[in-house]
């Protein structure tokens, strides 16, 4: 049964180096099982992929945020732009990342750049929409009072509207980040490495799959929590309740 499976996948996996397993729980390993001993010994294999994964995610989200932020600020003044931007970023969002990797290959070649471009394209809709909604949800009376007191449009934006939109913006960042972690596991198709490469290299070996997959999930959870904590720290007023 095992050999048949290995044989069936031998051809497709030929293009990727089969991980060799160093001696650990030899029996467990030979059975493709979940071997804590092997895991403990080989944890260092996952460090580089993990770091690469983190790099891909952070770079993509940062760039995605920068672009979305600029677009959202511009569209805040020229509201007719919002619908078209949502349409375009919507299409980018719909395109499966794995397809986008290959669509970009002829243009940008293999490597992190291709992966990052695709991941950025995916995140634009989420972040843009959340920033715009956040700005729209600012209470109208706060805007009226602000303008009436003599705040210029620019001052109003930076001192009143953006701070009040922060919770929504951070929520969008959280969603974008967790989904990007998931999508980045496919980045190795674009030649960008990451935890996905690890999974793919030995897809039958339970230990490998669990560790690599688990690290991805863990990474998503950690980043999510980190952004949430950051949000709590910079929006103290959201926690102030009537005494």
């Amino acid at each position: 049964m095992v050999s048949a499976t290995v044989a069936a996948l031998a051809a497709p996996l030929a293009q990727v180096q089969l991980r060799d397993r160093s001696a650990g729980d030899a029996g467990c390993v030979a059975d493709d099982g979940f071997c804590p001993g092997w895991i403990a010994e080989n944890l260092d294999r996952y460090v580089d992929p993990l770091l690469q994964h983190v790099y891909l995610v952070l770079a993509s989200v940062a760039v995605g945020f920068a672009i979305s932020f600029a677009l959202a600020l511009y569209a805040h003044r020229h509201r007719w732009l919002i619908a078209p931007i949502v349409q375009v970023t919507g299409i980018l969002y719909t395109l499966p990342s794995i397809a986008v990797f290959f669509l970009l290959l002829p243009l940008t070649g293999r490597g992190s750049l291709t992966a990052i471009i695709a991941l950025v394209a995916y995140s634009l809709l989420i972040i843009f929409r959340n920033i715009t909604t956040g700005l729209d949800n600012v209470p109208e009376e706060a805007r009226d009072a602000g303008r009436g007191m003599g705040l210029t449009d620019r001052q109003l934006l930076w001192r009143v509207e953006l701070p009040l939109a922060l919770p929504e913006i951070m929520a969008g960042l959280r969603i974008a980040t967790t989904t990007t972690v998931g999508l980045a596991t496919l980045a190795f198709f674009a030649g960008a490495g990451g935890l996905g490469e690890q999974i793919f290299a030995d897809i039958n070996f339970k230990s490998n799959v669990v560790v690599a997959g688990g690290l991805a999930v863990l990474l998503a959870a950690v980043l999510d929590a980190a952004i949430l904590l950051a949000q709590r720290a910079i929006t103290p007023w959201t926690r102030a309740r009537a005494t």
Partner: protein, 383 residues
């Protein structure tokens, strides 16, 4: 800063696509330190007219002059920093502390930190809020009434020569509204700002205004006069209807308890010699002694048993309710008396010490002999 004068000079606002102007050639003058109330039915243009002053709404034709200079001369943002702005929904910034909210305009004008801090504390105290307690709170932690006060404090921050207030007490419950109105009037007595005050409530207008501008649909000025004149000589059917059929009763809102001759009652503290108390009675309008504490605050009306011995005992016939303030308008005071089904009640000053007794008879007496002569005002008559 000194209070400014404000002049509406045929100010008109027509919205594109509308045949009728929202405000049609409004002309009136507000003197320095006066409260001008714009009042009228819904949609009459009073809020529009107010917002034209600080250019939140652009003037289509005509002009508005602040201290003689057109409001269109300066950039809007600059103009608005010179004008206090308080709206119905208050519009405090939820993400800023109370102190930061109040400090908004001073920060825009780049005051230094110490000056701002001092000013904020000063303002919070001015609106009867404890600076230490309130300064670092967030708007969500305050009650509606407290937020309203902060709104006023914020509008006063840079001591602007003019203030615009759009139904500032509208979102508050009636009980607190009365309190806030009284406090605001006391404040105005001290600071004497020029204020344009918009309301739909004629009673509020009469209470608050030095001069009242009654507007009808299209921002047409029906009458511009002091409250007394409005009540006693309404210009035309519209104003008459708007003021209401109970004009006579409304006149009670024009006078305060302090304005009329109060009755005297014997004042006694527990332990006072009864003989001395009885001696007071000769000079008093009311034979029933009032028990007070060490600070002369009223505790209740004494029973006969309290005066039976050598010294006064704290034996009460009834409590002191209703306790009326010197600053209350007669209308509210009369209402309190009637509600408690009593003929009279003690009057206290700002510190809570007894200043006299108000009785229904005294009110009636004052009304009969009131010589409320309307001052010569720019009353525009419309048929």
């Amino acid at each position: 800063m000194d209070a400014a004068t404000l002049v509406f000079d045929e100010a008109t606002k027509t919205y594109p696509g509308q045949s009728e102007p929202a405000v049609d050639r409004l002309s009136l003058e507000v003197g320095a330190g006066e409260i001008c109330v714009l009042v009228g039915p819904s949609g009459c243009g009073k809020t529009t007219a107010m917002r034209m002053v600080n250019r939140m709404i652009d003037i289509t034709s005509g002009d508005i002059l602040l201290d003689g200079a057109s409001v269109t001369e300066r950039a809007p943002a600059e103009l608005r920093r010179q004008i206090g702005y308080a709206i119905q929904q208050i519009g405090l910034f939820p993400h800023l502390t109370i102190a930061e909210n109040v400090a908004t305009v001073p920060k825009l004008l780049r005051w230094d930190r110490d000056r701002i801090r001092t000013r904020v504390d000063e303002l919070l105290a001015l609106v009867q809020l404890d600076p230490d307690e309130t300064r670092d709170r967030y708007p969500a932690q305050l009650s509606g009434g407290q937020r309203q006060r902060v709104g006023v404090a914020r509008a006063l921050a840079v001591d602007p020569p003019l203030m615009l207030m759009d139904e500032p007490f509208g979102a508050i419950d009636p009980i607190n509204r009365e309190k806030l109105q009284n406090e605001f009037l006391r404040l105005q007595h001290e600071i004497r700002k020029t204020i344009v005050f918009v309301t739909h409530d004629i009673d509020e207008a009469i209470k608050m205004g030095d001069r009242i501008a009654v507007l009808r649909q299209g921002g047409h000025l029906a009458q511009y006069a002091p409250p007394a004149e409005l009540l006693m000589a309404p210009a035309g059917r519209f104003v008459e209807d708007f003021v209401g059929a109970d004009r006579a009763l409304k006149r009670l809102a024009l006078q305060r308890v302090r304005d009329i001759d109060l009755w005297r009652a014997p004042i006694a503290q527990a332990g006072d010699p009864v003989a001395a108390v009885r001696a007071q009675t000769a000079d008093c309008d009311l034979p029933y002694p009032l028990l007070v504490d060490g600070d002369r605050r009223p505790l209740g009306w004494l029973s006969e048993a309290a005066l039976a011995g050598e010294t006064v005992t704290a034996d009460l016939r009834s409590d002191a309710q209703p306790v009326v303030e010197l600053d209350d308008v007669l209308r509210d005071a009369l209402s309190d008396l009637l509600q408690h089904e009593t003929q009279y009640g003690p009057v206290v000053d700002a510190r809570g010490a007894v200043a006299g007794v108000l009785s229904i008879e005294a009110i009636g007496h004052a009304l009969q002999h009131s010589d409320a002569v309307p001052k010569a005002a720019d009353a525009v008559v419309e048929g």
